[in-house]
Symmetry: C2
Amino acid sequence: MTKYTKKDFPVENVRRFLEPGPIVLVSSAHHDQTNIMTMGGHMVMEFSPSLISCLIASGNRSFELIRKSRQCVINVPTVDLATTVVKIGNCSGRDTDKFFEFGLTPKAGTHVRAPLIEQCYANFECTLADAGWVNKYNVFVFEVVKAHVATSPKVPKTIHYRGDGEFMISGAETRKYRRLFKPQML
Amino acid sequence: MTKYTKKDFPVENVRRFLEPGPIVLVSSAHHDQTNIMTMGGHMVMEFSPSLISCLIASGNRSFELIRKSRQCVINVPTVDLATTVVKIGNCSGRDTDKFFEFGLTPKAGTHVRAPLIEQCYANFECTLADAGWVNKYNVFVFEVVKAHVATSPKVPKTIHYRGDGEFMISGAETRKYRRLFKPQML
């Protein structure tokens, strides 16, 4: 697994890594329990405050840990972790300690008790900002209160889910359209 | 521009094209006005009914057309349309007829009055399912009521936005993790 050196990153700019749509790992903690889940559904809602809506099915062990602790960490894994990401999505925290089982390292955050996953490219510490659609749609709105991002590479090779066990791996990066943009519409 | 032949597609499976996170074009119509906007923020919320939440900033001309008509079409463009997608995102429907300006063909849908964009790989006809967060967050929840998808290629080469004028182009597709999946957790 890749070892990343990370630095603080502006929370208002996490769209850089989330808006392209990668599958992410969500880590949580409540009392003496921790868990990790694989999550494909998320959306950047505001830049400042940095609000992200997330779909967390109520059948997941993580649903209760996050609802009760009102915190989580959104971790962005890269393609070298793909097998682990799939396996995490296919077992339950009810009978598996996922950090131990998959050799992942929990790292203390600065703003939340939920552990960061060291092996991921980026870690976004989150607090629950709006629970209004939790019961209705399983949608949590989080505020990213602290972001840690790898210093290299500039952009991660991420994995994107199509459903039915199929993935797309992120491809080429381009800045060539940048000259067409008006700054206020970026 | 690529010319696609399309067929009906199951609405409960539009995640296949939306969950990987491409930037999309949203077309709308109200009375005698039509518009197109570029949208980076969307999330698959439920499969059946097929619910998608979308972020549409209230400053956009499309915001009012969609709020009033309670309909839109989510169109998935491919990389050959990238320049057009960027230009659409950088002008306003207040002073531009975007179909005419960018040589795009409006096509009649079967369930909504908003026009489909013929040159896009997929077109999802949507009706407004929940306006509860429109004023609070500019978030619209749509139900996909009809889906049209190109018969070829199997997966589109899509464009994914990083903010700041930078894009990621979708890369390799893989089914190699499929054997690790439990069907009920797909």
